[in-house]
């Protein structure tokens, strides 16, 4: 134990260029390095799309969703990373009478595989395949939208990511994913959606396609990017006029954002991360502004590749 601690300490002194990464970016952790930390997210909206109709609702006011997520990425090898994430979520409406909700949400586990790299003096090109699994860890209800803390669906995701960087530090990345979503159960024996009543507590969940593009600069411990994410639910109904949202609605959005991550000179291995996104288009979702801040720390369990921990 003591030995490991010493190794960690020593290792971290040299790890300046480390980058924590996520499921859809083009970054990898080196073998036997672990990046872990906490991310705080605050998401707020006042207007939402009832189907395609944009409106507000004075019986909800502003909906705020706060989450504190633990995340970790571990380099199984230089080409294969394991990622885990678990948020605690809390929701609240500023007007009306609806009760706020909070609790541990879904655990995400992912494997990211860098199956192709072409590195020259001036450029780096990488391709990644990602498989992700998520499942709710608690029995929170998905049937209290917009204040449910999640949709309570077990999902499987496959995605493909490409990353291109130049020696100047400029990079572009693109990622597209397909998410299979398992059915969910409600507490009630019947529900109406998509033009028909279903006499069951089980809800068929449509699958989701998403893509993500980002461009920015990444060098010397700094990463700054502008990004855009689009999610399309592949079927599902619209919220009807003055109806409540429903778990299997066709929830689509386009979000534009910016992200900055910076590795502090001291203590080494500690990174701060900040991001903002704004929903530019949507269907059956709130037009939210999301602020995120986090602290991530990188541990290196191996003495090799110290200078190369972030690839």
């Amino acid at each position: 134990m003591k030995k490991i601690f010493t190794i960690l300490l020593l290792s971290c002194l040299g790890c300046f260029h480390l980058q924590a990464q996520t499921i859809n970016d083009g970054l990898m952790m080196s073998k036997q390095t672990l990046c872990t930390g906490l991310l705080y997210t605050q998401d707020q909206w006042k207007n939402y799309w009832e189907g395609t109709l944009k409106r507000d609702n004075l019986n909800i006011g502003k909906v705020t969703t706060q989450s504190l997520a633990w995340m970790a990425t571990y380099g199984i090898s230089n080409k294969l990373n394991a990622i885990a994430m678990l948020p605690y979520v809390k929701t609240k409406a500023s007007m009306g009478t609806l009760h706020s909700m909070e609790g541990v949400q879904d655990l995400t586990l992912a494997l990211k595989y860098n199956f192709f790299t072409n590195k020259t003096e001036k450029t780096t090109l990488r391709f990644f395949a990602v498989g992700a699994f998520s499942t709710p860890l608690t029995d929170y209800t998905p049937d209290f939208l917009p204040l449910s803390i999640g949709l309570h669906s077990t999902t499987l995701q496959g995605r493909f990511t490409t990353y291109f960087a130049m020696s100047s530090g400029l990079f572009v990345t693109g990622s597209a994913g397909y998410t299979y979503r398992g059915n969910v159960k409600l507490d009630r024996p019947s529900y109406y959606t998509d033009g028909q009543i279903n006499n069951t507590d089980e809800v068929w969940m449509p699958n989701v396609f998403d893509f993500f593009v980002a461009a920015g600069y990444r060098k010397h411990g700094l990463q700054a990017e502008l990004n855009y994410a689009q999610q399309n639910t592949l079927s599902g109904s619209d919220i009807r006029r003055q109806d409540m949202p429903f778990v299997s609605n066709r929830m689509n959005y386009g979000k534009a954002g910016a992200l900055v991550m910076y590795y502090l000179p001291q203590p080494r291995g500690l990174a701060v991360r900040g991001a903002v996104t704004y929903t530019v288009s949507g269907r059956n979702v709130g037009q939210s502004t999301t602020l995120m801040g986090g602290l991530l720390y990188t541990f290196i369990f191996s003495k090799t590749d110290v200078d190369n921990a972030a690839q």
Binding site: R55, K79, T97, S190, Y191, I197, T200, R240, Q242
Partner: protein
């Protein structure tokens, strides 16, 4: 390295296999198998009518003899149709074989859920009223909220029930056998029975149910008409009825619907909304008793839901009977008793456990659902199916249930608007609720009243399940306290009121209608 690559590939393949092998189709709980009644209820033509003056109020002419050329031509045409049935037609036969009464109840619940949406506020902060003359507008017509739904379920169920009793009377008067009995060349594609086929019970139902539904849900006219046509076709294609059986049934069903439509047009529903002056008077009634008057918790404030609905004509009871049952008064705002009630509600919302939230949502039956009366139709449907009732006995069960719930709605609305007292959140804004707060006064709880009335009618029909029904009713009642939208007294007194209303119907009508003899 190579090993890692292979393990990644294996994982990816395993994921893919999981995705492709996983069947996401949902299994619906209310499956109906072809109806095979335990009894044909030969004497149902003599059971007491709900609204018709007698079983012959609508005349049905005698059919042509089965030996006549006209009838033989019908059989020939039927055999020709049967020889060319396609997969869709067979599917229709199978669908309607589950029982016409049960199917219409399902269709009905779907319509209620579809139209159970309150008008959205305008930019000026007002709420336009749904307009029957302009049902496709925004807001759509109707807003099938619980009182509207309770009354609708009652009208459709009773119209179908009376129409079927009249049909049974003529069936046994004329005794024309089903085509599959008369002609061995006709195949019975549904379970056979001894029930005479003239007039066709399926056509009677299609006429009565569809004509009532078209008035209640005018914007769904196309879909209702298609369903009705499909039911008649299925009766023909299945070898159960010939075209003259069906024509006579349709005419009878439509005429009976006309009688019920005339009742509905003059039952007081059109005055149920009231106007601003009348709403002010309700407030004055409450303040003159020394209470705080109910106020809408919505922004902008929404007018109270159908405040004069209690004046609508009940089924098999009078308004005086309802007034005699009126409970209360609820404790006055500010009294020690009411303060304790508020405190208890606050405790429940501050301690909204997952188990209690599940109960809240199980019974919420709010916006966009089939409403609490629909929930009890849902519960009843499975018992009616399992009991293998004949169509007419199934219709009786739904008619009794829904008359009871209609009367319960009246009694509950009478009490609510007589006292016009505030919801818990109006007295303590810190009470945040586990479901939406209904936009009408608190005392007594509608869920409690509906549920107890339904449970007492269903307990009469299915005594072996009485304990379940009572447990369900009290769970539904308590769900409103757990949600923070009712005081305990609203629920307790609502249960008592509902039970009284239900028992009144059972003792005053159901037990003496001839069906139990």
């Amino acid at each position: 390295m190579k090993k890692t690559f292979y393990s990644a590939i294996t994982t990816a393949l395993a994921c893919l296999l999981f995705v492709t092998s996983c069947d996401k189709s949902i299994s619906v709980t209310e499956q109906l198998t072809p109806l095979k009644p335990a009894s044909v209820d030969e004497d149902a033509g003599n059971w007491t009518m709900v609204h018709m003056t007698s079983n012959t109020q609508v005349a049905v002419p005698a059919p042509a003899e089965v030996t006549s050329d006209a009838y033989k031509a019908e059989l020939a045409s039927l055999k020709d149709i049967q020889s060319k049935l396609n997969a869709n037609q067979k599917k229709s036969i199978e669908y309607w074989a589950g029982g016409g009464v049960l199917r219409w109840n399902q269709i009905f619940r779907e319509l209620v859920a579809r139209y159970n949406l309150p008008p959205a506020p305008t930019a000026e902060g007002t709420y336009p009223a749904p307009d029957a003359e302009n049902p496709f507008n925004d807001p759509q017509f109707p807003f099938s909220n619980p009182p509207y739904a309770a009354r609708s379920y009652a009208y459709v169920s009773t119209a179908v029930y009376d129409a079927l009793k009249a049909a049974w009377y003529y069936k046994y008067l004329y005794k024309r056998p089903a085509p599959y009995v008369t002609d061995p060349g006709v195949t019975a594609l549904v379970p056979q029975s001894d029930l005479p086929s003239y007039p066709s019970e399926d056509a009677v139902m299609s006429g009565a149910a569809a004509e009532m539904l078209k008035v209640l849900f005018p914007a769904a006219l196309e879909e209702i008409t298609l369903k009705a046509g499909e039911q008649r076709n299925a009766a023909l294609w299945s070898g159960k009825a010939t075209s003259s059986d069906i024509a006579a049934g349709l005419a009878l069903g439509k005429s009976v619907a006309d009688l019920f439509k005339a009742r509905a047009a003059n039952d007081g529903m059109r005055n149920a909304i009231g106007n601003k002056q009348l709403w002010e008077d309700l407030k004055k009634n409450a303040t003159s008793r020394g209470d705080v008057a109910w106020a809408s918790l919505e922004t902008p404030p929404r007018p109270p839901m159908l405040p004069f609905f209690y004046k609508v004509t009940p089924f098999k009871m009078t308004y005086d009977d309802i007034v005699a049952m009126r409970p209360g008064p609820p404790p006055l705002t500010g009294s020690g008793e009411m303060n304790d009630e508020v405190k208890e509600v606050k405790w429940y919302v501050d301690n909204l456990t997952r188990e209690r939230l599940a109960i809240v949502h199980k019974w919420a039956d709010g916006v966009g659902t089939y409403t609490p009366p629909g929930h009890w139709n849902d519960i009843a449907a499975e018992h009616i199916r399992d009991a293998n009732f004949s169509e007419v006995r199934a219709a009786r069960a739904f008619a009794l249930l829904n008359m009871g719930q209609h009367n319960a709605a009246l009694a509950c609305w009478d009490t609510k608007y007589f006292y016009f007292n505030p919801r818990p959140t109006q007295l303590d804004a810190a009470i945040k609720t586990g479901t939406g707060v209904p936009n009408f006064p608190s005392y007594v709880s509608g869920h409690s009243t509906f549920s107890a009335a339904a449970a007492s009618v269903l307990s009469y029909l299915f005594p072996e399940h009485a304990t379940e029904f009572e447990a369900d009713a009290s769970e539904a009642a308590m769900s409103r306290l757990y949600a923070g939208i009712h005081y305990r007294k609203d629920c307790d007194d609502g249960l008592v009121l509902g039970e009284s209303v239900g028992t009144f119907l059972v003792n005053g009508f159901a037990k003496n209608d001839g069906a139990d003899d």
